[in-house]
Amino acid sequence: MQVGTAHSDPNPNHVYFNSRGIWATYVIFIFITHFIVLSIPFISMALAWTLTCQIHNVITYFWLHWEKGAPFEPLDQGESRTLTHWEQLDDGVQFTANKKFLLVVPIVIFLLTTFYTRYDQIHFLVNALSLVLLAIVPKLPQLYRVRIFGINKW
């Protein structure tokens, strides 16, 4: 829908994460999720934090590493149709500020969660697994454009 656009970058997904206040919005969304989970009365503190960590990892996994392409038709003639959002950010350049930020946030949430669950074994296992498999491994530069077993290739 880039009608009348005056852009040299064919895909706005490359640059929008550099906009003002978007990091803060991301953190605000995490807070909102956490408060919603905390306000459910019969959930204990440990379970609330684990739930926040899990919900965050699952939603960001689908947002960054599962959905491919862009929600609009970019002007790049289909180049980004097979790329996940993570691969589109910053036009594929690795180690940018955005990517470091998005890598650090789930780690921080995990550390807080281990603290608030008082290092319970099962909670730790569940959170660590989801952190590593859903949040860290897909963000590694070694897995840029890699599709394991061809899952999610097209």
Partner: protein, 529 residues
């Protein structure tokens, strides 16, 4: 021109966060509605694959139309509005409503009269009667509507030669060549000027015709920050020092591509600084004056005239006739060597049909009126002054309302910020209901936190129209709370009052000729609604 040395007010922090939250909310609801439609809980009005092809590899990605389906479709009555009259100072917009939230439209047959702030009608030549229209009719009677051939075959009319000579004289260059389509002038002719092994330094916000033209050349494209001579210098030095990628050979040519007035920002290019840079580093300059020819400068000769620069310093002067001249098509002007080369190697000139005669006649008459050679005495000067006064007056009033207004003081394009998608749609609908035809633009055509409404001033607008419109915008901006500016209005806005505007126009004491608006009955009958 110290008034060009300001930076645009950035999006306020809280409004940016609210805008992101709005888009996320819209996306969440979009996913929910898509789910309901796919599972059959809601009527599915989207084109879907028939059963026999369901097992094939999908032709289109469903996700690609997510934005169109769930965001754009819901507010698409704000765009593509059909009009039934000539797009002069005012026009008649066909009324339409959508009983199913944007899937289909119903046309009751009535129209709304609105002030036209959407057309690029800078000098008011979009008229269906008057000197230009008479000349176009005479040309049609003499040459017919079409040309039936390309310039290199039998499609060169004497009217084309007259127009080219007139444009070259007007711009102060040695020669010029005209093309029937403005977009194609950029897209198809850049390949004749640069090729592989050259470097193009293109402004970040260049129009898509320039982007397409640059890509078609095969040259290396580097992008510099919008209207930022310091960044341009850094990129120039980098291009010269490091040369081509991998081989490090020097580039054969470096071409700097800029526009005169940027139509989404309203900013005027910093031409003197860029010319100084190009001379220092021996690069070439391509200036696209689509929105500035006829609209800037004391005699309307564009941004070169506005700054008082020498037209010979700009290697390729390109522009279009769509905006200020009320015609269609584009031109390239420069040294006679350049134009001769373009004549012989331009795809558009060799293979494309040439400009139709009535269009050429319209442009030629408009040009003659501007130069004072036709029409009522001083008509050209009057239009130029009216445009300049209208632009500054409107811009000053909007600044004083407290809106965030982008662009430079003299530019006839006045965009002001709205930010949130809901407010963008509300403003578009409310302003039409109150009789203003204002174009709004949002993501992804603009950056995500810079959705805006854009006003294009015209010499056909009267000061009363502007006053009435500002009153409406005052009311709407208070209702929608879009007065986000945290800065004081710029100093120059203080003396741009109605009295100042009238004083500037006093010497042209003749009252404005009303723009002839054809009756809506004719328009509706033609469309058959």
């Amino acid at each position: 021109m110290a008034d060009n040395d300001h930076s645009e007010e950035p999006t306020p922090y809280i409004e940016a966060i609210v805008t992101y939250i709005s888009y996320v909310l819209l996306a969440v609801f979009g996913h929910i509605r898509d789910f309901l439609r796919n599972k059959g809980f809601e009527a599915n009005m989207i084109a879907t694959e028939p059963d026999r092809t369901k097992s094939f590899v999908p032709l289109y990605q469903n996700f690609e139309s997510f934005f169109t389906r769930n965001l754009y479709r819901r507010i698409r009555d704000c765009w593509n509005r059909p009009i039934t009259t000539c797009p002069g100072a005012e026009f008649e917009v066909m009324d339409r409503d959508s009983p199913d939230y944007g899937w289909t439209f119903r046309y009751p047959g009535s129209t709304t009269r609105a002030v036209n702030f959407g057309s690029y009608n800078y000098l008011g030549f979009a008229e269906s009667s008057g000197y230009c229209a008479d000349a176009a009719v005479a040309a049609t009677e003499m040459y017919g509507c079409g040309v039936g051939s390309s310039r290199t075959e039998v499609g060169s009319l004497n009217i084309h030669t007259q127009l080219e000579r007139a444009m070259a004289e007007y711009l102060g260059t040695e020669d010029a060549i005209v093309f029937p389509m403005g977009f194609a002038t950029n897209a198809l002719n850049m390949a004749a000027l640069v090729g592989k092994g050259c470097c193009i330094l293109s402004d970040e916000l260049n129009h898509s015709s320039l982007v397409l033209g640059s890509r078609l050349t095969g040259a290396t494209i580097k992008i510099f920050k919008h209207n930022n001579p310091a960044d341009l210098e850094a990129k120039l030095r980098e291009a010269i020092v490091y040369g081509q990628a991998r081989t490090r050979r020097p580039f054969t040519k470096i071409l700097i591509v800029v526009e005169g007035v940027y139509s989404m920002e309203g900013s005027i290019v910093r031409l003197p600084e860029i010319i100084a840079l190009k001379k220092r580093y021996q690069a070439y300059l391509y200036l696209d004056e689509a929105h500035s020819i006829g609209a800037l400068g004391t005699s309307g000769r564009g941004v070169v005239d506005y700054y008082g620069c020498d037209p010979r310093d700009v290697d390729v002067l390109m522009g279009t006739f769509t905006k200020s001249f009320g015609g269609a098509g584009g031109y390239i002007a420069g040294s006679s060597r350049l134009v001769r080369h373009v004549r012989q190697s331009s795809h558009s000139a060799i293979y494309g049909a040439s400009m139709p005669a009535p269009v050429a006649a319209q442009i030629l008459t408009a040009l003659n009126i501007l130069l004072g050679r036709a029409g009522p005495p001083d008509e050209g000067k009057r239009r130029l002054r009216q445009l300049s006064v209208n632009a500054q007056y409107m811009r000053a009033r909007l600044h004083q309302l407290g809106l965030i207004v982008y662009g430079d003081r003299d530019s006839p394009v006045v965009p002001f910020m709205i930010f949130m998608p809901g407010k963008v749609a509300a403003f578009a609908r409310l302003s039409l209901a109150h009789g203003l035809g204002i174009v709004v633009v949002g993501y992804p055509a603009t950056p995500i936190i810079e959705a805006r409404a854009r006003i294009c001033l015209s010499a056909a607008h009267s000061l009363d129209m502007i006053d009435r419109s500002v009153q409406v915008i005052d009311k709407l901006s208070r209702l929608l709370r879009i007065r986000y500016s945290r800065r004081q209005p710029p100093d120059w806005t203080r003396d741009r009052t109605r009295a100042w505007a009238e004083a500037q126009l006093a010497e042209f004491s003749r009252p404005l000729a009303p723009t002839h608006v054809a009756s809506s009955a004719n328009g509706v009958a033609l469309i058959g609604a």
